[in-house]
Structures are given as C-alpha cells and as structure tokens.
Symmetry: D4
Subunit: 250 residues, 8 copies
Amino acid sequence: MSLDRLLDDFEAGQISRDKLKKELLRQSFIETGCAKIDQLRELRTGGPEVVYCAGKTPDQVASIFDHLNRHNGRVLGTRADHAHFEAVRAVADARFDPVSGLLSIGEPVADPAGKVVVVSAGTSDLDVAEEAAGTAEFLGSRVDRHFDCGVAGIHRLFSVMDDLNDASVIIAVAGMEGALPSVIGGLALPPILAVPTSVGYGASFQGLAALLTMMNSCAPGIGVVNIDNGFGAGYLAHKINMLAVGGRDG
Amino acid sequence: MSLDRLLDDFEAGQISRDKLKKELLRQSFIETGCAKIDQLRELRTGGPEVVYCAGKTPDQVASIFDHLNRHNGRVLGTRADHAHFEAVRAVADARFDPVSGLLSIGEPVADPAGKVVVVSAGTSDLDVAEEAAGTAEFLGSRVDRHFDCGVAGIHRLFSVMDDLNDASVIIAVAGMEGALPSVIGGLALPPILAVPTSVGYGASFQGLAALLTMMNSCAPGIGVVNIDNGFGAGYLAHKINMLAVGGRDG
Amino acid sequence: MSLDRLLDDFEAGQISRDKLKKELLRQSFIETGCAKIDQLRELRTGGPEVVYCAGKTPDQVASIFDHLNRHNGRVLGTRADHAHFEAVRAVADARFDPVSGLLSIGEPVADPAGKVVVVSAGTSDLDVAEEAAGTAEFLGSRVDRHFDCGVAGIHRLFSVMDDLNDASVIIAVAGMEGALPSVIGGLALPPILAVPTSVGYGASFQGLAALLTMMNSCAPGIGVVNIDNGFGAGYLAHKINMLAVGGRDG
Amino acid sequence: MSLDRLLDDFEAGQISRDKLKKELLRQSFIETGCAKIDQLRELRTGGPEVVYCAGKTPDQVASIFDHLNRHNGRVLGTRADHAHFEAVRAVADARFDPVSGLLSIGEPVADPAGKVVVVSAGTSDLDVAEEAAGTAEFLGSRVDRHFDCGVAGIHRLFSVMDDLNDASVIIAVAGMEGALPSVIGGLALPPILAVPTSVGYGASFQGLAALLTMMNSCAPGIGVVNIDNGFGAGYLAHKINMLAVGGRDG
Amino acid sequence: MSLDRLLDDFEAGQISRDKLKKELLRQSFIETGCAKIDQLRELRTGGPEVVYCAGKTPDQVASIFDHLNRHNGRVLGTRADHAHFEAVRAVADARFDPVSGLLSIGEPVADPAGKVVVVSAGTSDLDVAEEAAGTAEFLGSRVDRHFDCGVAGIHRLFSVMDDLNDASVIIAVAGMEGALPSVIGGLALPPILAVPTSVGYGASFQGLAALLTMMNSCAPGIGVVNIDNGFGAGYLAHKINMLAVGGRDG
Amino acid sequence: MSLDRLLDDFEAGQISRDKLKKELLRQSFIETGCAKIDQLRELRTGGPEVVYCAGKTPDQVASIFDHLNRHNGRVLGTRADHAHFEAVRAVADARFDPVSGLLSIGEPVADPAGKVVVVSAGTSDLDVAEEAAGTAEFLGSRVDRHFDCGVAGIHRLFSVMDDLNDASVIIAVAGMEGALPSVIGGLALPPILAVPTSVGYGASFQGLAALLTMMNSCAPGIGVVNIDNGFGAGYLAHKINMLAVGGRDG
Amino acid sequence: MSLDRLLDDFEAGQISRDKLKKELLRQSFIETGCAKIDQLRELRTGGPEVVYCAGKTPDQVASIFDHLNRHNGRVLGTRADHAHFEAVRAVADARFDPVSGLLSIGEPVADPAGKVVVVSAGTSDLDVAEEAAGTAEFLGSRVDRHFDCGVAGIHRLFSVMDDLNDASVIIAVAGMEGALPSVIGGLALPPILAVPTSVGYGASFQGLAALLTMMNSCAPGIGVVNIDNGFGAGYLAHKINMLAVGGRDG
Amino acid sequence: MSLDRLLDDFEAGQISRDKLKKELLRQSFIETGCAKIDQLRELRTGGPEVVYCAGKTPDQVASIFDHLNRHNGRVLGTRADHAHFEAVRAVADARFDPVSGLLSIGEPVADPAGKVVVVSAGTSDLDVAEEAAGTAEFLGSRVDRHFDCGVAGIHRLFSVMDDLNDASVIIAVAGMEGALPSVIGGLALPPILAVPTSVGYGASFQGLAALLTMMNSCAPGIGVVNIDNGFGAGYLAHKINMLAVGGRDG
C-alpha cells in the first residue's frame, strides 16, 4: 500500500519530510475515502449492498448483482421488475417479491431482539409498505405487519395497539390525506417513521398532500421520508431498531 | 310598481304589444333580480344580513349596520375588530365577541330541534371555531362546542362521540395537519364540514397542508370550506341543520 | 362472545376483579371497534358497502363483491371498468354504468321524499356528475340531473332554477374555471356541494384552478370535495338529504 | 444631427463609403432607438408618460414629474401615496385620487365616441377598479363604472347588461374566486379584459385563485392581466377602445 | 310564441293580471335565456358555432357538426384529429388542418379592413399559433403570420416590425421563457394578446413559466390567455379587430 | 372509580349483565382514554409536559405552567418569549433560553449513556438547533453540539466526524439548500433526523427548498421533520436515544 | 447589397437625402439583423449550428442538417434519437451518441489549453452529463469526465479534487437532492455551473427539488441552468473556457 | 504543528509505524480541512473574507470585521445596514454603500484587463445590480454599469451593445418578467449570469416568475443565481473574469 511505501521511502531517506508531508496532504482525501470504505465495509459485515434497479437495464442489474455477490454474498435490489429478476437469477440464486419490487441474494437473518412494526392505511399502499418491511427484514430486523389500518376505520388501528407499543420503531405508511402517523403518534410510544405514498387522486397531487400532513403532525416524534420511499423508511427503521437491540454497543 | 304601470298602459292602449314585449324583455333581468331579492327576503324573514368587516373603515361598517338594522332588525358582521364595534354601537345596540370577531345586532333565536356540533383540534383554532359556532347560532341553530380535541390526544375525541352522533351536522376545525375531520369521519355518522385553519408553521403553508388533508380524506361524507372560513362553515351547517329541523316541510 | 365469557368467569370466581378490569381495559379498543362496526351495520341496514375498484384486479374486485354480497345483498363499486364488471357478474347479478364507472349489486330504493339535484357545467364533466348522481341514487336518494349548464351560457342555468330550489341539496360539478357553484350560490337556497373536475388544460392544472375557485366562492353555503370526487359528493349529499327526509327522527 | 453630418462628410468626400457603411451599421441600434422614441412620441401627441411611483421617494417622483411635465404637459403616476402627491404639487399643478393611487398632471380629454366599461365584483376591489378606470380616462377614453356586481348577487350584473353591451371593451375586476369575467363572457358581446385582485383570504393565495379562474374561463374572448394590475387593464382597454373610435375611418 | 299567447289570453280576459305577472316572473329567466340566444344568433349571422372536439368521439363530433351545419351552414371545431375529420366529412363538406387541429364547415370570408398579426417564437409553437390564426380567419379576420421570431434571434422580429404596427391587434405566441410579448410590447403600438405554450422542458412546468412571464410583463398593453389556448386568442383578437373594422357601428 | 362501582353494583345484583355490558361499551372510549393517559403518565414519570407558547398570552402560559408544575414538577415550553418568561417566573422557578425560546421548570437529568449530537449548518440556524438540543436535554438525553458546519466549508464537518459516529442519533439542522444531512448521511453511521430551517432568501421559499432537499436525499437513513421544528427533532431524537440507552435490557 | 445600391443611387442623385435617410432608418433593423448574423458567423468560424431535434420529424431534421452542412460543414443536434440519426446519415456523414442524444456533423477540434470538467452525482444522470460534455467538446473544449461522484459517497469526490481544481470551469450534474454543486463549491476554486436533473421520485418533483437546492447553495460562485439542460451547461462552459484559453484576446 | 510532531516522534522511535498510520488516518479530515483553508488563503492573497450581515447584530458584525481585518486587511460585508456600519467603523476604517448594502474594509484594486458589465432592467433593481457590481469590484474586477435597460424600451439596450460585447462576462439583473437576459443572450457573445429580482407584484411571486423565465431562456449560455443574489452573481462573474485576465496561467 502506498502509505507504507511512502513511510519506507521516508525512513530510507529517499524522500524528505517536506515531500512526505506534501504527499500525505495530497493523498489525505483519497486515503480518507478508502478508510471510510473499509470502515463501512467492516461495520456492515455480512450486510447487503443496495442497488436501485429502476432505470437500469436487466443486464446492468445482473452485472452489478454478480459483482457484489462475489464480494459480499448478500445483495438487495429495490424497484426491480420481473425482467431484472430473470437476468439476475441467470447469474445467482436470487429471490424476487413482485409486490415490493425487492430483489435479493442471501437470506435475512433477523435478530430476535427488537422489532419494527409496519402499519399501512390501505390496500393500495401495500407495495410501499412491503418495500419498507422487506428492506428492514433483509437488513436483519424482525418485522410485524399490520396493513389496511387507515383512520377511516380507526378501530382496526386500536386492535393492533399493543403490538405497536411493543415495537422499537413504527413505520406508518399512508397515501391520500396521510393522517395515519398523526393518529398513531397520539396513541403509541415508540418513535414513528412516516411514509407518504402517491396513492390518491385530485388534490393529493401524487403524494404531496400526505407529505404535508405528515410534516405538520401535531403529534411530536415523527420523522418523514420521501413519497413512496419504503426502502428509506425500512433502512432507517433498521438502524434505529439496532440501537434497541444492541444498546450502546450497536 | 313598474310592471303594473306597464300593464296599465298596455290595457289603456297607451303602449303597443310590441312596446310591451320589448320592455318586458329589457326589464326581465332587473325584474328577475328584484324578484330574486324579494323571494330571498321572504325566505329569510327575520334573518340577518351579513357584512364582511375586514378592510372596511369603522364608519363604513357603522353606516351599513345602521342601514340594515332599520330594514331588518338583525345584522351579522364577520372579521370585525374593536374599532368596528365602537363605531357600530354608537348607532345601534350591538354585541361583539372579540374571539370570533363576530359583531351583531339582534338576538339569536335557536330552534330547539336539531343541533350543530363544532369540534376543534387545538386552542389556537379557537377563533375560527367560534366564528363557525357563533354564525350558526346567530342564524338560528342550536350549537354544541367541543374544543381542543385534536388527534394527538384522540381520547378527548372519544369522550364526545355520543354528542357528535347526536348532531345534524358536525363542523370540524383543524390547522397543522388537519387530520381531525378524517378521524371523525371514521367514527361519526352525521355529515361533516371541515374547516382548515392557518394555524401551524413551516410546511403548513398557512393552512394549505390542512386544506389538502381534508380534501383527500379517505372517509367519505366530508365537505371542505376555505382556510379559516368559520363563517362559511357555520352558514352552510345552519342550512343543513334547517333540513333536519324542518324535514320535507322546511 | 368474549365479554360474556369474561363475565361468566368473573361471576364464577374464576378470574379476579383485577384480572377482569385489566382484560376489559385491554379489550376496550377491540370491543369498541366491534361495537362500532355493529352500530354502523345496524344504522346502514340494507345499505351497500362501497369498494374503490381502481387499482384492484378484476379477481380481487370479484372476490370482495362476492363476500360483501353474501353478507349484505347490496354492494357499490366506484371507478370500475369493464374488466371488473365481467369478473363480478361471473359471481353475482351486477349492473355497470360505463360513464360513471359505478358497478353495483342490488337495486336503488329511492325514498320519494327529498331529492338531490346534480348540475354540471359541461359535457366533459359527465362522468363525475354521473358518479355523484349514481352514488346518491344507489344509497337511496331521489336524484334530478341537469347537465351542461355552465356559466358560459348562463341562461341554461336559469331554466332549471325552480328545480334547484326544490332540492334538499345541490351538487354542482365543474371543471375549467369552476365558477358554476358560485353562480348557483348567488341564486339558489339549498346547501351546495361543489365538485371540481380535472377537465381543462393549461393553467387548469388538472382541476386545481376549479378547486381554488370553489374554495374562494364569495357565495356562502358551499362545501367542496376533492377533484373528480363524484362519489364523495353523492355520499355526502345523500347524508344531508336523509336529514330532510327524516327530519329530527332520521 | 449625426446622420446628417455623416452624409455631409460623405458627400464632401471626407469619409469613405466603407467608413460611412461602418458608422451606419454601428449606429443603427441607436438611431433605431431614437426613431422609435420619436415615432412613439408623435403617436402619443398630447398623451401622458406613466410613472410607477411605489418604491420611489417623493423627491424622485417629484423630479420625474417635473421633468416630464416640462416636455409633455401631461403625466400619469400609478401606485402613488399622499407623500408623493405633496412632493409633486410643490412643483406642478397635480391631482391625486387616494382610492386608485393615481397622481396626474393634465386633464383627461375623453373622446365621446366609444367607451370602456369597468365592472367590479366587490367593494374591496374598488382600488384596482378605479386604477383601471382612471387610467383609461386619463389616456382619453370615456369610462362607465359598475362596481359591486359580484356573481354572488348576479341580479346586480343583469341590471347593467345593456350598458356592458354598449362598451367597446369591458374590464372585469374580481378577487376571491374571480368568476365575474366568466359570467360576463357568457352574457356580453364586447371583448373582456379580466383583472384578478388579491382580495380574499386562505386559499385565494393573494389572487392566484382568481388568476387561474380567469385563465381557465370556459367563455372565450377574455384576456387576463396581472393580479391587481388595474393600470395594465386600463391601458390595454384604451388601446382597444381607440380602435373602435377610429374604426369608422380606420 | 308563449309571450304572445300570454298577452292574447290576458287581453281576452282568460288570465288575470296576477296570473300574468306571475307567469312573466316565472318565465323571465327562460325568456331572458331565449332572448339572449336569439340576440346572439342575430349578431353572429352567418357566423360559426364552435365545438371543442378533444375528448369527444368521432361520432359525437359528426353528429354535432351535422346538427349545427343544418342550422347554420358554418361550424368550427378545435382540437380535432383525423378520426374526427373522417367522421365529419361523411356527413358534410368539411376542411381539416392537422397542424392547428381546426376542423370546419364553411369558408372564411375575411373583411379586408383591419388585420390580426400572429407572431410566434419557435417552430414548436406552430400548432398553437396556427390555431390562433385559423380561428381568427374563420371568424372573418384577415391574418398575417410571422413564425419563428423568438427573442433569441431578435433581428427576425425587427424585420417584421412594420407589419406588426399595421395590425389592429397582435397575437404573440411563445413557450419556454415566453419573453416575446414583452419585447414586442416595447416596440409595437397595437394591443397585444399573449399566448403561453407548453413548449419547453424542466422548469418550464408545461407552460407555467411562460404564463408568469407574460403576466408580469413590464410593457403595458398585454392581455394573456390560457396556456396553449390559440383558439381563445384568435377569438378575442377577432372581436377586437372587428372594433377596428366597424368602429362604433360594428 | 366508576369501573369499580359498576362491578360492585353488578356483583350486588343492582345492575343486570346487559346493563353492565352496555355501560362498559359506552364507557370504553373514555376509559381507554383515561387508561391511555395513565399509561403515558407512568412511562413519562418525572418527565415534562410540553406547552407551545407562541400565540398564547403570558397569562395563559403562566396559568398552564402553574397547573402543570403542581402536578408534575417539570414543564417545558417552546417558542416562548421574554413576556412569557416574566409571567411564568412570577408563579414558579423557571429558566428561559432566549436563543431557543425554551422556557422550563425543573432540571434536565441526562442519562450518561447514549447521546444525541446536534449539527447545524450556519450561525443563522442557531435558534432551531438550540431548540432541538435543549429539548432533547430537558427530556433526559446527553447532547453534543457542533454548530456552523455547513457544506460550504466541509472540513469543519470532517473535524467532528468521530463525535458524530459516537451518537445514538444525529440531528442535522440546515437552511438555504439544506444539503448538510445528505453529506452527513454519506459519512456517518447513526440514524439522522433532518431539520430544514427557514433561513435563506429568494428561491429558498421559507425553507421549502431545504425541506425538498432533505426529502430527496440520496443517502438513506434520514427522517425529516417540519421546517424550523427543532422541538420535534429533539423529541424524536430523545425517543430514539432512549432505545440505545435501554437497549441492552430493552 | 442594398446598402451599396442605396449609396450608389444617392451619389448618382437618383434619390434625395431625405429618401436615403428614411430608407436607412427603415432598414436599420434588418441591416442590424444581418450584421448581427454576419458578425456571429465570423466569430463562430468553423463552429457548428445547433438544432433541437426533439419534436421534429426525422425528415425535418435531415433537411435542416443538410442545409446547414452545405453552408457550414459542422452541425450539432441535441435530443436526437435513432430515427433522426438514420435520416441524417442518408444525407451526410454524421455521428450519433445514443446516451447523450447528440447528433453531429464534423469533428470536434479541442483546444488543448483550458478544460471543462463534468462531474455527475449518479449513473442515472449520465445522459445529461454526457450531453453537457459532448456539447462542450463539439464546440472545441477539452473535457474531463468524473461520473457517479454523489455526496452519498463523498470520498469519490475527494479522489478527483485535483482534477476539478485544474479546470477552467466545472459542470456539476445532479438529480434527487442536487447537493453536489454545493459540496464542490466548498472545496474547489473554479467557477461552477450546476445542472439539476429530473432523476428522482416523489418530492423531487421532476427536478424542482434539485433546482431549488442549487439556487440556494450557501457556496457562492455557482450558476444554474434549467433542469436536464446539459446542452446549455456545455455551451456556457465552453464560452467560459474560451476566456481562459484566449485571455483578453479571446 | 502536530504533523511535524508526529513525524518527530516517529523518527525518534517513540511511536510505531502502526501508531503513525492510525494517527494520520484519524487526522486526515482535520489536516485536510486545514490544508484546504491554507490553500484557499494563499489563492486569495490580499482578498477579502465575506460576511453576510443580515440577521446579525451590529456588535456581532463589528466583532467579525475586527477579527478578519486584523488577519486580512480586507473584509466585505453584504446586506448590511447603517447600524452595522456604525458599529464597524468604531473599530476600523470602513466604507458603506446604502444602495447595495455592501460594507467593506480595504480598497478594491481592479485589474485593468478584463471587465464585468452589469446591466439591469429597471430602477427598482438598482440595489441588486449594485450588490453585484460592488462585489465584483471589491474582489478586483473592473465593472461597467448600464442600468434601466429593460426590454420594454429595448433601444436603451441596443445603445450599450458594444460595451456588452467587450465584457468577459455580463451580469443581467431583472425582476418582473425577467426577460432581459434572454434578449441579451440573443444579441451578445459573452457568457451571461442572470439575476432574478423580487421586484414586481401579483403573479411575480417575489421573483419566482423572473427566475423561471431565466431558467427557460431559449438563448443558450445563461447561468442563473438565486433571486436578489447580486453578491453571488458578482462573485461568480469575478471568478470568470479572472480566467479572461489570466488566461491559462490564472
């Protein structure tokens, strides 16, 4: 490695201290970058790399999966379709969930301690909710699902209240008016991640209405991710759940 | 009246049929207009005229109140302030509620049958909620108030559920994320009028967030009025309540 | 039922008062939920369940219709297409209106007392207007239709004024600039529900212009529903019409 | 003048044809500019220059008025306030209308042929309507005013229909939902200029709602100017009215 | 006609004055409407009815054209496509311009006095510009066209300046930044109608950028129509041009 | 308590099982509500109630603080000003931080395990950052602050990287373009809560630009709260930090 | 040429000085225009004309290319597709890059002095980045490319820092949150042109989020072009790079 | 310095190579940061630091100016007011321009080679234009100013065309419709930086209209900065001008 060579040369008197300092400075970004990568790789040992498949050709996706699979043994793809799946399983043993669009290599190994609960408002939010749930599971969290619990039939929400309060973190997925996280925020204790979906019509403006609702929730303790961003919510929920699982050592 | 005079002249042969027809046509808009006014006045017997005071000088408001009071005995002013009140009570026996900004001449005479229930989410929505409640009362509806029942503490809402279900129509007032009407819509049976308020900050965009939420409610049976438009909600609620009071004979 | 069993056990001394209280508390949401459902079911005796068909597969829709039909005998589906219809009529005797997209099982039984009048601005608003009219009819309201009465030819509106004033509630459907409800609001006495449609181009922004127009109407007594939400308007209009039909006993 | 001097020099052989051509080309923009100014000045003989006063100090406005008055004898200032007026009348014989904010030197000399009719929806639109009316008058058009003719009381509009149809061009001023031009467009024959005003609250968004309404009017024959831009409407209306005045001979 | 019959009956003593007055009042709206229609029909003698074809089936359009053709001999359809054309020419001798989407029965008979000049910024605005030009021509105005004169090559505009100043009214069509009307407004004297088009990408937001530009023009004397609304501009331009042609007698 | 009384009466045979069931059902919402409150109170033992002071009079705030202080001994007020402080300290021993606007009764007792790190982009974001930090501290979290670490001088961020990676959760506060959370998200491992601020001008649109930036971050693991909502971020961060603190045992 | 003829005629006494002056004035715009074109053509010697192909038929594009090729020998087309390419290469020797959509005749001849560096955030931005790079190259600039350097993995950016600081001007291309230019602006010295792309989903609003981010960058020295406008950035970058290449003599 | 100490210790055998490498890595961010600062400081030798004064107290600004003045001898403050000036000149010899809000210590030393030309549309844009001009001057560029050259009087622009084409870079400042940069882009050759201003009313939406116009310019070669961001434009223009001054050696 070049840092060693630099130090060898310095010790051998082949480069001056000035030259060494200059090189160290010049390389610092690069080294830092590498260090960062290594550090991250270590921390994620056994963890998957994540590939955003939408807008990539099946061949491109297959090639990336093949590459990551060789180094890592675990890969997660989001927003994949059947063509991506066909291309990937030609090169590796992959699984595909057409509802969430998640395409993966490697089994989820959920830590039994701590759990993420995913609640969604309607059946139309199912794909986003499953993307959130599947992402958190693949990353290693235990996940409970309670779908179709929208505020228009709030009793459905009450029936799962106990389970919600057992979670490390709740992911609440809702389109249309997006009121679900606010209502949960008034009833449940865990931190809540809200996912607006583009489900709706007219003045829902492709999820903007739900996004604004969640932003303005009068119940504190709610963090919001982008419209339809089930992956982002699942990823963040897993990070938070790991805190609960591992405490300060996580 | 000029129609009579026209017919007199026609019968007296002083104007031709052509002249009569031409006059009738020419006047039809005006007559119609007048007829319309009369018809409305009859229907509203004893009812108040409504004056939007904001942006008018105290003198202008006082003059309008004085004029309407002489013809009608009952006047309602909205968005009035203390200066308006001072000017008006110099010319008539008026009442002023500084919270709702309602300024009125004449007592409300509530019909004991049928009632409007006004629910609001937070203490900051009080002025809009009171404008709605006071308007409906002044027009002749019995009104129950349940303020500070926002979804962040949904149990407060549950405790007034019975009263909500007794209403002819519910007015639900909420700012911030504006989820209250959706939640009520999932629990209560009467028709609901939703009033978004400009209460909030940041991405509430002066009530736009609440407005969109209410528009997109997944609970059917909700009609929405303009941001902070307590008067409009109270007015419409009274109209609907009168249906309940009078049934088919109303 | 479990509440009975709890009380049996309590009376039999098999569970303590503490245990009973804890169970009652724990179950309260669920019971409430159930009670709520029962209560609603009773109130809606003979009434339909409503299914939003858009985004559901024909098989899913058919399965839901089949299920609801067995329990209820009456089902209403909105935003359905021909494929939904084909799948549903394989399992039940259904009717489909391709204009409004309403798919239903069971006959409307309109109460002769009270009526809803649906007015629309242009022929392009026909589908939304029919969704509103068909919904109110299926729920049990008598409905009059006056289509193509936009403000650009305001005389057409005048010719139906008498009928409008006979209604319990008026549904006014308009796209483009959406001025129809304002004009009706200045002429007619019944409460008005305004439905903006996405008809238009350019700065209509898919119905936003009409929505804002209706929100800002200078004529009081107008409640607005979401863009293209004919179902919501029909549903709310029926609720209001029932007040007129049944008065305080409704 | 320099063009003459150039040609003198060229005729005198003091500059070459190449030099002349180069100079002509170099000066063409400037000459054009001057020509343009002259041409415009001729066309506007006796006409006023227009000064936007808002954001200028009284001294600046007075100095500009003084300068223009010396050259022109007629000046029009818009969005002026009392301080501007005080400063200007120290240097010239000026008139000021506090409602419209118009500050002027020189009398309007209206051509008796052709007229502009200004219609406004409510008393709150008075300032914008007067800015439009006063501008057209000062430029030389005869102007009729019909204020407070909003669509919420449409009979008021009908009573002035004859006068509207006598106009060369109608200016329709309205805030809130801004439906007035649409309704007039369905009833009257002259071209219509629509002026949205910032009057309203909530979802009027400072005139945006009215602007969109006017843009989307289903009645053809409506041109829209900026929110609160009474001056622009008055200016354009005068231009159109001049066509009618001059038409006979045109 | 029923008014005559009413008067006959009244003169014959078969109906009372009260009855007559009541009938007159009741019919006033309808009569007014009819009067309005007649009045308009007279004024438009020989003029076309206009049909918005987009969203209508070929059969519907053909049926409407057939009907109007029998009464009027002249019909104009906008936003038509080839299928509309095929259906219409099966029932009448029609012409179709695929660029503008105008479909018509009857020849334009342009008045030689007065003219409309249509200027457009780019070749992509051609369809909207042609819709404006073709509409004004069909209604009876003489039209000059100057396309591809955008401000990015402003010399092209200068070369047509004389023709612009000869117009009764200028229609300026532009997408993208929509600056063309402002520049023309600084150079030309006739009234200007500005048509924003949806041509552009990114932050043009389907014509919103051009619309706002035109609304905010610092050159006075510009009226704006909806995005892509060539028809509206052509229609309004024709009305204004007729003023120039006919003066006060038009 | 009424549940006990009900059971006493039931055991005493004074009410029937039917009556008991009916009462239980009727009360379920209320009881649930109460239970909810108790449950929350237990969980928050020693924790503060939170009062949003903006828009409340000093007297109102003082009265609420006095009331909560008697029951709880710990109160937190947000968006308070000096007048609120003066009124409150007349009734209790309160502290006020004019930068964050936090007004409190009772000392923060930070758990030494786990910490929240608050990073802000610029000195203008200080108030929001301090609201976040002060809130989390008052709720019981240890908090590190690193202010003025905006991406325009990214080296400042690098110098605190170690501390960021030691946090349970990072709060990143930024106005203007709001890129800070994205950059941190590419470098740090803990979950990130992003707070857009209204700092900026022009196209920042009072924080909308920063909000959208944070919503669209290409770095996963970021939850966003409302513009300027330091309190919300501090509250949610504390909840997440408690997971880390209690994790081991959780 | 007509100017010469005019001067000939003037010298020959065939036209008067008045006539000459009038003609000069009349023609000034046209001459200016021509002069402008010539001047530009000279300055761009050997440079390409640029054709926006999207929305033009292959035949139209081929015809324009053929025409320009005969006069110029170098043509650049943007937003072309394969059909355009096929049509063009039937008439000339053209090259086409399907990624950037650039279609060209003539080889780029890059000046070895000065360079443009194009940095992009993600692989999805490739097409826009290549459009920028290819445009600058074709116009004659040397271009370095560093793609996939988004802020989520900021070390990738550090590794190319030296190359960035060697550039005359940096083009930074990014979608989603668009933070890349801000981060580069805090690290690099050359002027930066920022290109927002429409890459993203949900609250990216087709590039609006990235656009606002770049507008609000806290790092000074950043100019922004339209969403996806790689061509505009490449064109402007080349202009700036030419300054560096040619210094004051450019 | 710590790097030296580390190397001393390493040479002295007091720390191992592993320890050295670890420290180097750990410190790389910090060192990099410092290096960055040094590098920038060198490049900016004699150049000013820039302080955004708005929102800072006079004391804070004075303290920052005092500090920077001691290290640098040259400081530039933007958006300053008189109070800032008073406080600063108590500690240093400062200059203040109330129009642009620029507050500075140290004289501008303009390089005679290369120049920036600032053009503005109207007198209301003066402050922003002066901020741009003053910033570029203070940084060391020669600046020409041509104010009040808006497109409504385009001849004023033509008269300064030669000067525009002599510039290294043009700054075009405009509010309202913001068409100036487009028009200049069609006439002038240098790169253009466009500054939208918040000047205007109604649908100008505080500069949004001008911003969109500039973004969508059909003239290529225009980079846009934030609304009212004269400083940003002046800063970027200076960077570009330095390229012209120094060519490849800059």
